[in-house]
Symmetry: C2
Subunit: 124 residues, 2 copies
Amino acid sequence: MILVVDTHSGIPVYRQLVDQIRFGVASGLLTAGEEIPSTRALSASLGVNPMTISKAFSLLEEDGVLERRPGRPHVVRARPDRATRLEQLEQALRPVATKVRQLDLETDAAITVFRRLLENRKKR
Amino acid sequence: MILVVDTHSGIPVYRQLVDQIRFGVASGLLTAGEEIPSTRALSASLGVNPMTISKAFSLLEEDGVLERRPGRPHVVRARPDRATRLEQLEQALRPVATKVRQLDLETDAAITVFRRLLENRKKR
DNA sequence: GCAACTGTATTACTTGACAAATACACCTCG
DNA sequence: CGAGGTGTATTTGTCAAGTAATACAGTTGC
């Protein structure tokens, strides 16, 4: 998988890496057990400090996306089970549910907006 | 309306104020045209600098929640029209739609989670 | 007009976030 | 065992975010 970063985008480098690796795993470009390039290899190819790469990896490890092995490169972890993924989605949706209430919008309207976004993305 | 802040909560003071005022407006405790206590009054009662209060008010003003009047306290603005509120919800839902894809979850599962959250909150 | 209020522009200070430099511990293979 | 790789703990430096001090401009009521 090719990882790229734009240090002028205003988005922290580590966040760009997290996003790309997450996307790689979700899209099937990266499969369980597959090795991620080392912090030093990416540091050389992307021109950023290894600790910056390491930060991205640490976050992905905390989230269960990557697995760390002492002295060896990180590997992609088996995808969390469905229940865990649903729980993660719920965490992401909680503040939005609060927002729906703040905006005084009805449940069905909110559902419609969400569905439209989800289906638009599927079509792309 | 009573506003409170906890300076040790780790949540920035201005953000606590923004959240409380938003909630006050959404819940009907604060109505359109109603005056918000002045930056100096809140500064005295909450023990924070007026500029911190002002920052909260500025954000709420940008978001169309409050209206500023030179030499006079802020007032609650008439609620944005429905289309604007729906647009705000869509902005909040966009990253979540991305997350659904990353988690490789189906639209219907995501909708179910969202609906459950919205209806749980309604019951409280 | 002035006192007493209003909000905030500007500047300064403190704390948090981000990124990098350095050195340590671990692993694999010849 | 040692060379060549692995990740990261720790510290440092820079920049961004959060907060405060000060003074200015605007409003209202007496």
